[in-house]
Amino acid sequence: MATKPMRIRAAAKDGVTEVKALIAHEMETGQRKDANGAVIPAWFITELSVSHNGKVVLASEFGTAVSKNPYLAFKFKGGATGDKVAVSWKDNKGESRTDEVAIG
């Protein structure tokens, strides 16, 4: 299954950039059962990183307890309008995706 685009917002103010990201992912726990009683296998993002002009500003590891369609918000020093902020993730099935946005 193809990965879906995420939504990233990055806004610079007073020398600080605020990043808000919504990532499309099922984040299946592996503890739920389908209608026939079969366990739905775990499927979740394990690693996610955010970079600013190529430099990592946040590296994270997720477990299955992160909600479906994960949300992340944080701030880093620096960043100017037009700079690139990229979010990359990898899941336990080996799928990955990177999306990029310009700081507004």
Binding site: S51, F74, A86
Partner: protein
């Protein structure tokens, strides 16, 4: 956790995402991004999680805060955040005591990133939620009880 992270990096393994990012021109080789810590995320209890992370006896700290609502209407999506006022904070994690696996997420903060991260987690039931923070080579915690009126079981 960071100890393990470093050792993984030193041995140069586990760089799948790293190489992907490098290929995308997003990061330069040698950046701190490591293999997912399976032992820590698979641990059931708080105590086992701390053990898997190689941490003993983190100290409660008023300078660490876990934010979130007192009551979550639905356990499937609970907004939580961790903030730390301790200088030199390099790692923050969210742990949920009563979840099947306590560790929900961990964040490594490079220099220049504020020690304040917001996300959303699943909670199976009312539980204490812990912030675990690393500053220097010491660990600190803060806790907050979040009540769940509905488990993360859909409706």
């Amino acid at each position: 956790m960071n100890n393990q992270r470093r050792s993984v990096l030193k041995t140069g393994s586990g760089a799948a995402l790293l190489s992907m990012l490098a290929a995308a021109g997003l990061i330069k080789p040698g950046m701190a991004l490591a293999e997912w810590n399976k032992a820590a995320f698979d641990a059931k209890s708080m105590a086992d999680t701390l053990k898997a992370l190689g941490i003993s006896q983190p100290a409660d700290s008023k300078d660490v805060q876990i934010t979130g609502p007192d009551i979550a209407e639905n356990g499937a999506v609970v907004p939580v955040g961790v903030t730390s006022a301790i200088p030199g904070t390099t790692m923050m994690a969210i742990l949920i005591d009563k979840n099947p696996n306590a560790l929900a997420a961990s964040f490594t903060l490079p220099e220049g990133t504020e020690a304040n991260v917001q996300t959303r987690v699943k909670m199976g039931q009312t539980s204490n939620v812990y912030a675990l923070v690393k500053a220097g080579d010491k660990y600190y915690t803060a806790t907050k009880e979040i009540k769940v009126t509905l488990g993360g079981c859909g409706g």
